[in-house]
Amino acid sequence: MRRDGGDYHMENINEPNKFMKLFSKRGMGQVVTVTIGLLVLIVVFGILNPNFFSNRNISNLLRQIAPIILIGIGQSYVLITGNIDLSIGSVVGMSCMISATLMTKGMNPWLAVGITYITALIIGVLNGQLISKAKLPAFIATLGTMTIARGIAQIVNNNYNTDSIGEAAEGFRNFFYYGKTFGLYNTIWIALGIWVVFNFILSKTRTGRHIYAVGSNIHAAHLSGVNIASTVTKTYLVSAVCSATVGLVITATSGMGTMDAGTTYELYAVAASVIGGVSTLGGQGILLGTIVGASIWGVLQNGLQFAGAPVAIRNIVIGIIVIISVLLDIIVRANKNKAKIKARAKV
């Protein structure tokens, strides 16, 4: 070289401290922020009504949050790839009706559970293939499967809710809802167990990395040998598994199948994910955030109920929080873009 291209000397940056390292982990900044928000809400509701902290309420609150965590996990997986799953609520309803109908017909509850999961997985595969292979927009494809799944929920018992699933399903009901392990309701353990598994897959495995890659830069992912169709389908399968589990929880809770079970759950799932820092634009977010997002949703519902707020007010508050969360995501992304332009301008 005739002239020193000295612009390319390595920059010396101070070693980040542990706190900064924690913050610098993907999506952790948003999670810390919403966790602070959650703690504030808990303190406020605790002050407004001391019963908020009672063992009974905490236990119920956790059991109330568990299904939202589950559907939030599914929706988060899908959102991270830059897609959306509108069929969640209908798959919940379909799973509830299929499992309950089969049990009322005298089938072994665990066999019914297996069939329920298989049916939900078929919807998941259908979603994934329609979006990644047939190139349908996720919004349209899952809108279609949403209607199909709700239709199945209605047709499976001839347009009637089912009768009671009976005493033979006692074990099933205890497993999914009424039973306790180490002092906590099983529903909470199921949600935590599923979270642990899917969090590990998302954060530590090749599949997880591919999911982020597809949402972050689909062209680069294709170039890097990522099988886009398979990756997208996997996320819809996760969503289907989570939705089916929630459907089973609802069956266990009510002891019967209801055709409108899970209605608007897809929106709760989006709310939990987005509040927890999962970006609707794809490529961003962690499942720890989904737990916090679902908790905020649950605490708000529970706390406002304690404070005597009508359902309408609760919905308005949650709606506002969802909008603020998405706005924050857009602002954060815009700032990052600004930083990107600034960094590229450095000579």
């Binding site: 070289m1 002239r3 390319y8 101070n14 993907r26 890659a213 040998g225 990052k336």
Partner: protein
């Protein structure tokens, strides 16, 4: 006295605390082709923006068509009669050529579009310019060259008096560039002015009347046509010498063979490359290499052709299988097309590692060891949680480090020097050399020679999908002399 179309006097422009343009002084006459050679890209985009639109400046004043249009105390934000042409077309792809040229025009006020009359008028114009483009065709069906031509015609019909041409050589082949330059000269005679931005002085010197050098947002030198020579630029430019030495073109076949490919634009193409060898496929009319890329990316299927690696056939040909066989592709504009900006530096760096190790979960110890190994090369960027704060050079480093760590057998690189300023080109050359040192075979796909000869051991010239010649570096240097 010649009339000026643009005069920029002592202009300084700062944004977010960064000085993009630093006391810029230059002017362009009417009917003049002014060259602009950026030594680095700092300030280039801002200068184009400033010439096109009267955005705020911190100091100085700007005259357009001999009228004061912008000065530091007042910027009107109005647009000047300027049109910038670059790789990203501003035509409406879903409309026809005649619509783009005539209807999307400030001077078109008809309520009803008389398509036939417009076609006749446009065809006549194109005939006069000796251009053969179907004006009833949708723009999306045109080649990049045709789109560029239509954009230029549209700009002039729209009343543009100054055309900014941004790095034409990065997307037009040599043949296309020569044809486009004829068009530039045609309009020059009709008093249209041009700001011709080129990374290579050889290209700018061929057509420009004057040329200036831009470095760190400053014009560091203005050169008149009579002074155009390599010598005058020596204090400013970087010359890239091949420090590695030359590999002779061997008779034996290489580790990677591309055998008998036939597609829409490839006519029985075969080539091979050896370990540590770098070849450049120079596509004179920009037809064949696009097909090679599409085949590698599985966007299209060849009519016939086979790929062999170490005498073993690779089948099927798709990115996943090629990666499994250690064949990697770096696309054009790799910062946008091969990196995951929301992921951390380390995740990007090790993205292909799971394939190398054939493990779904990579051991923490391995990750830590990679991190520390690359810290000495990338600094503390390895700790970055995303890529937002990294500059262009660091991002290019990351792209090539990622390949380096994966250690493939063959790397295809599409237009590695496109859009790269002089400093970055030097760095890319270093990075390609590092891959060669590791024993990796490299195939560069290019429409312009640019700096490819600084790294290439052989040059395969392609025209109309056929190879015209296979030159080793020594032959090329003898011919140059």
């Amino acid at each position: 006295m010649r009339e000026e179309i643009l005069r920029i006097e002592n202009v300084t422009r700062e944004m977010d605390g960064i000085t993009y343009l630093d006391n810029i002084n230059f002017h362009i006459f009417k009917g003049e082709i002014m060259g602009l050679m950026p030594l680095n890209n700092h300030g280039k985009r801002q200068l184009i923006e400033l010439i096109s639109q009267n955005v705020s400046i911190d100091f100085g004043r700007i005259f357009f068509n001999e009228n004061l249009v912008n000065y530091y105390e007042h910027s009107s934000l109005t647009n000047n009669s300027v049109y910038a042409i670059d790789k990203e077309t501003k035509l409406i792809e879903d409309l026809k050529v005649i619509d783009n040229i005539n209807v999307l025009n400030h001077n078109f006020h008809d309520f009803v579009i008389k398509e036939k009359a417009l076609k006749v008028k446009t065809d006549e114009l194109l005939k006069q310019l000796e251009i053969k483009i179907n004006t009833s065709e949708y723009v999306s069906k045109l080649s990049l060259f045709e789109k560029t031509v239509i954009e230029l015609i549209k700009a002039i019909i729209n009343g543009a008096k100054l055309i900014i041409l941004n790095e034409l050589a990065s997307f037009l082949s040599m043949e296309e560039l020569a044809d486009f330059q004829k068009l530039i000269l045609f309009y020059k005679k009709r008093s249209i002015s041009f700001l011709y931005i080129a990374n290579h002085h050889e290209e700018a010197f061929k057509i420009c009347d004057r040329a200036c050098l831009l470095e760190n947002g400053r014009i560091v030198k203005v050169i008149d046509k009579k002074d155009f020579s390599d010598e005058i630029l020596l204090p400013y430019i970087i010359t890239f010498n091949n420090s590695i030495g030359l590999n002779e073109a061997g008779r034996s076949t290489g580790i990677f063979e591309f055998r008998g490919f036939v597609s829409e634009n490839l006519k029985n193409i075969s080539f091979s490359v050896k370990r540590s060898e770098c070849i450049t496929i120079l596509d004179i009319n920009n037809k064949g290499i696009q097909d090679i890329v599409e085949i590698l990316m599985e966007f299209s299927q060849p009519i016939q052709g086979e790929i062999f690696l170490d005498h073993r056939k690779i089948e099927p040909i798709n990115p996943g299988n090629l990666l499994r066989n250690k064949v990697v592709f770096i696309p054009e504009n790799p910062i946008n097309n091969s990196l995951f900006h929301g992921m951390s530096y380390l995740e990007n760096l090790t993205f292909l590692m799971d394939r190398k190790l054939n493990k779904s979960v990579i051991n923490k110890k391995i990750m830590k060891s990679i991190k520390e190994q690359y810290r000495s090369l990338a600094g503390n960027h390895v700790d970055a949680s995303d890529l937002a704060g990294l500059n262009t050079k660091s991002l290019y480093d990351l792209i090539y480090f990622k390949i380096h760590i994966f250690s493939p057998k063959v790397v295809f690189i599409m237009q590695p020097f496109a859009d790269a300023d002089m400093y970055l080109r030097g760095r890319i050359i270093e990075l390609i050399h590092k891959l060669k040192e590791k024993g990796i075979a490299i195939v560069i796909l290019a429409v312009n020679i640019s700096d490819t000869l600084a790294v290439s051991d052989r040059l395969l010239v392609m025209e109309d999908g056929r190879f015209l010649g296979n030159y080793d570096k020594k032959t090329l240097e003898i011919q140059k002399r």
